[in-house]
């Protein structure tokens, strides 16, 4: 029989205001095996912990039940407390009477009754607890960063700087991400390329960083400290080791009509291409969808002009297997498609553009070489209308997103300001719901756009844009003066909402990392663990976790790197001792457990058993590798004969809890 101590926490008024903690302690004192029961204001405080330790000594406790907050919060704390007093830490059970009781009930009598039941279940479990000892597993001292935008680059640079190996997997032919397409950056108006490309080069030249460009993560197995990742290197039909990036092929390729994604399809590139001059790695890639040679077998010009002999039409996708200790997700964002917002005539007129397209139209490396020209007739526009919140803060109609995309107010102010500065003859209007400018020097920046550059900010939304006689007739309302406004604009620029990259959802499934309903990755704690995923060993960097501007992204990227370094600095991780264990005498050898195990922890072997009359039987039985098992329990459910059990969460313990609740 166990000697159990029960400790009921008030959690200040969090629990005590809804649960009669005295009554709970008194009632549970009468349970079989309970030799000590008390309540205290803050069990997790120094005084509370000492109270537990003292009781362990005085009453020779063999098991401890703490009725308090969720085990996610303080199970670790109380296990340490009890271990320090000489009790095996796995003899501690938490009854969650806060999140699952006091916080969700209003009636004190009801909540008290439930708290007693939850306590009783924990006591029933402790009776069947056995001391467990944790093993250790080694940490692979190498990190994987998925996504090579500014977030991924920054995280990789910081990890490499601390002396650890890090690989970047980028699905595009070059790293750099969205920031490569941006012209100037707010609030300082320095050129994006000027601050980004040195970092891209740093990453490429750093001997600790290996870049897998034009590659995707194919599968992820394993667990924190020991991930096994398969990376698909997509065939680019150019030998990366030979290509010098001279670009001869990209000027000779006869297939000239391929929409250039770097300029968002506003101009064309060749079928063999280097995305932009500062691409890293600077290696040509053949676009298999357009290459005449790959499609018909007739052409081969690039191969003839390539002095390095790098062209390889036979190249196939390659699968690379790597081991990592930590994985950082930095998959970034994309602007939403604005096709659904037809009132703005995006699909009817080329002069209606998104902000990212506008960014390219202003950029020296863009389709117009940095001179702002209307896409329709290549003339200089005089009246420009910016529409904010296209698809952001957009509830109900299912076309957009309910959240604020956060970056649009600032980049729209930037665009308006740059327009007025370069072309003082322009009239610039910005239609907004609210102007949101929290951030260092952000509001000052916006005020400058209004006060120094004379941008017309109008509170109100644009109702309709109609292309007519080479103009865009904009109908809008000014909510402050309560007037209808008609503007004959030359261009309309839409601040499209941003959403997580489409590759994020399947990746989350591979990583068993959770996501919110908008497909942004969820953090382990919204305030206190913002760069970790709830899945151990998976970290979040940049806009994959929520809309962010560049300074925030870089800050989070470095924070994620710090968390990765904390993990990689360890030689061993303490394993969870609550792992599966088969009863060989009952195992049928059916392999059900092996098939459902997500970690590959279960293997089968033929073993000799004693049969009747001194005979020997050979039976196929399961065994679990405790260093690999993560204690998820899938096998215990799959096992048809109940031979598989989970230490610390045995079927018997769970049934005892259910029985205690139903008593």
């Amino acid at each position: 029989m166990q000697r159990i101590g029960v400790f009921v926490c008030w959690c200040g008024s969090n629990i005590a205001a809804t649960v009669d903690v005295h009554k709970v302690a008194e009632t549970l004192a009468k349970e079989p095996g309970v030799v000590f029961s008390t309540n205290y204001q803050y069990m997790c405080s120094q005084a509370g912990q000492e109270m537990i330790q003292e009781a362990i000594h005085t009453h020779k406790l063999t098991g401890v039940v703490i009725c308090s907050c969720s085990p996610r919060m303080h199970e670790g704390t109380f296990r340490k407390t009890c271990a320090a007093a000489g009790l095996n830490p796995y003899m501690v059970e938490i009854a969650n009477i806060r999140e699952q009781c006091s916080w969700i009930h209003k009636d004190m009598a009801e909540a008290t009754e439930k708290a007693v039941i939850l306590g009783r279940a924990a006591i029933a479990k402790v009776h069947l607890n056995a001391p467990l000892t944790a093993g250790t597993s080694p940490v692979t001292k190498r990190a994987l960063v998925i996504g090579g935008g500014i977030a991924g680059i920054q995280t990789a640079l910081d990890i490499a700087d601390a002396g650890y190996e890090v690989d970047i997997v980028e699905k595009k032919p070059t790293i750099g991400g969205k920031m490569t397409q941006i012209d100037k950056t707010f609030p300082t108006l320095d050129c994006a390329a000027c601050i980004l490309t040195p970092k891209m080069v740093d990453a490429a030249q750093n001997e600790k960083i290996h870049i897998y460009s034009y590659s995707e993560v194919e599968s992820v197995k394993g667990f924190v400290g020991n991930f096994h990742v398969t990376i698909r290197k997509k065939a680019r039909f150019v030998d990366e080791t030979k290509c010098t990036g001279c670009g001869d092929c990209t000027t000779k390729c006869p297939q000239k009509n391929v929409p250039n994604e770097f300029n968002l399809g506003m101009d064309n590139r060749r079928a063999i291409y280097i995305p932009f001059a500062q691409a890293v790695p600077k290696i040509a890639t053949i676009d298999a969808d357009y290459c005449t040679m790959l499609k018909t077998g007739k052409c081969g010009i690039c191969s003839k002009v390539c002095a390095a002999g790098a062209i390889d039409y036979q190249q196939k996708d390659q699968l690379v297997e790597e081991e990592y200790g930590a994985i950082v997700v930095a998959t970034g964002f994309d602007p939403i498609s604005v096709e659904k917002f037809d009132e703005y005539a995006y699909s009817q007129s080329p002069d209606v553009v998104t902000s990212l397209e506008f960014e390219r139209l202003m950029n020296a490396a863009g389709p117009t070489n940095g001179t702002l020209l209307r896409p329709s007739d290549k003339t200089h526009p005089h009246t420009l209308v910016f529409v904010q919140c296209v698809g952001s803060r957009c509830d109900g109609d299912g076309r957009g997103k309910s959240y604020c995309s956060k970056i649009c107010c600032m980049y729209t102010a930037k665009h308006a300001m740059l327009c007025r500065e370069k072309y003082p003859d322009t009239d610039v209007y910005v239609f907004y719901i609210d102007v949101r400018t929290p951030g260092k020097n952000f509001d000052e920046f916006y005020r400058r756009a209004v006060e120094e550059y004379g941008v017309h900010y109008i509170k109100g939304q644009v109702g309709k844009v109609v292309p007519e006689n080479g103009k865009l007739k904009v109908q809008a309302s000014d909510l402050l003066s309560n007037e209808q406004i008609h503007i004959d604009a030359d261009m309309v620029i839409l601040a499209a909402a941003i959403e997580p990259d489409k590759s994020a959802r399947p990746l989350a499934t591979m990583l068993t990392a959770s996501m919110d309903t908008n497909d942004f990755f969820t953090e382990a704690h919204p305030k206190l663990r913002p760069v970790e995923s709830p899945t151990a060993g998976i970290f979040l960097s940049g806009a994959c976790q929520g809309p962010k501007d560049i300074p925030e992204t870089v800050a989070q990227a470095s924070a994620a790197a710090a968390k990765v370094l904390g993990l990689l600095a360890k030689d061993n991780l303490t394993c969870n001792p609550c792992v599966a264990q088969p009863d060989e005498m009952m195992c049928n050898g059916c392999s059900s457990c092996e098939k459902v195990c997500p970690y590959g922890a279960i293997t089968y072997s033929d073993k000799e058993f004693r049969g009747p009359n001194r005979t020997t039987l050979i039976r196929r039985v399961a065994s679990v590798n405790p260093a690999v098992c993560q204690g998820c329990g899938a096998c215990t459910v799959a096992c048809p004969s109940g031979a598989m059990d989970l230490k610390g969460f045995s079927n018997k313990q769970i049934m005892a809890e259910v029985d205690a609740i139903c008593k």
Binding site: T509, M585, M586, C587, N588, G589, C590, S591, S592, K595, V596, Y604, L617, I618, R619, R620, A638, P640, S641, G642, A643, N651, K652, M655
Partner: protein, 324 residues
């Protein structure tokens, strides 16, 4: 029928196998029981293959395939599904088994024949669509279709899915078996009516364990019902309707591994339609996770032990279980 016995003799005599798993007469002519034959003499003396060979031989191979030497087994189409399912679960050592597939026109239910007035059967021969029975009371003829076991009336497949040799012509799967009609009828009932139906059926259970012992999916080293540690064996009876737990737990245990061979209902001395519980699971699995036949092949994973990204959400399962 003679062909089957001839094959058994041939396999023993040419040394392909050292033992034969087949059927022999039990207490009565129509009461056939699985048996292992080790010599040609034993085969000639006792081996029987008749329209009463309902017994599924697959399960016996769990033990027999682990013995010295190779064994030949005769598998009817439905038995072959159980055989493949057991192979998938690593329960049978394939190399030690020589499978002879036998085509099947459906096996007979002696209870049905008795109802038709054919009692005291001592011999039977096939005559086209009819069975001519010699009985203690003279020769009687019944149409085969009227005498079939329930599972043969709604036969799902006449295809032997795995064999080393086939006797007769292998048949096809029968998607038009209507085997789920009765389940659909039960689903259409109100919960109270359905409860009353099962209470009526299951209250006859005498816990003889015949269904469990015959079931090829019930092949655990130690059954949970015999394991005092499982917490199932020693639950106190809540009501007189206690045996519901046994059958429902059993149905859950074999779910997505049950091939619908129908042996549970065939052997039940109380004539409880136990196969309906299993068919309910099969029907639900088909509807929720796509068509799946346990034991149809070696590769597909049982839907309840597999996860794919397009699996239905638990809420859908929950909604279907509402107050219908």
């Amino acid at each position: 029928m003679q062909e089957v016995m001839k094959k058994a003799l041939e396999l023993l005599q040419n040394g392909t196998v050292s033992r034969i798993l087949g059927w022999k007469t039990g207490d009565f002519f129509y009461d056939l029981t699985p048996a292992v034959f080790e010599s040609a003499e034993e085969v000639e003396k006792d081996f029987v293959f008749s329209p009463f060979c309902g017994a599924n031989l697959s399960k016996y191979l769990i033990k027999e395939s682990r013995k010295e030497g190779k064994i030949a087994v005769f598998l009817k189409p439905c038995d072959s599904y159980s055989f493949v399912q057991l192979l998938k679960e690593h329960r049978i050592i394939r190399d030690n088994v020589y499978v002879v597939g036998v085509a099947c026109d459906g096996m007979c239910d002696i209870e049905k024949m008795k109802e038709l007035g054919v009692k005291g059967v001592t011999a039977v021969r096939e005559d086209g669509e009819n069975l001519v029975c010699e009985t203690l009371y003279g020769e009687k003829t019944v149409a085969r279709k009227d005498a079939l076991l329930e599972r043969c009336v709604s036969c799902k497949s006449k295809k032997v899915v795995m064999f080393d040799e086939m006797l007769g012509e292998n048949g096809e799967e029968n998607p038009e078996s209507h085997r789920f009609d009765k389940v659909a009828e039960l689903e259409a009932m109100t919960p109270d009516e359905r409860f009353a139906f099962w209470q009526n059926e299951l209250s006859r259970c005498i816990r003889c364990n015949a269904c469990r012992n015959v079931c090829p999916a019930c092949s655990c080293e130690k059954c949970v019902f015999d394991n005092a540690n499982s917490g199932i064996a020693n639950k106190a009876a809540v009501t007189s309707f206690e045996e519901q737990n046994f059958h429902i737990i059993r149905a859950f245990h074999v779910a997505s591994r049950c091939t619908d061979c129908g042996e549970c209902s065939r052997v039940c001395p109380q004539h409880i339609p136990l196969h309906l519980l299993n068919r309910k699971f099969i029907k639900d699995i088909n509807e929720l996770y796509g068509e799946y036949q346990a034991g149809a092949d070696m590769d597909t994973k049982p839907p309840l032990m597999n996860f794919t990204k397009d699996d239905c959400e638990p809420s859908i399962v929950h909604e279907r279980g509402g107050d219908k």
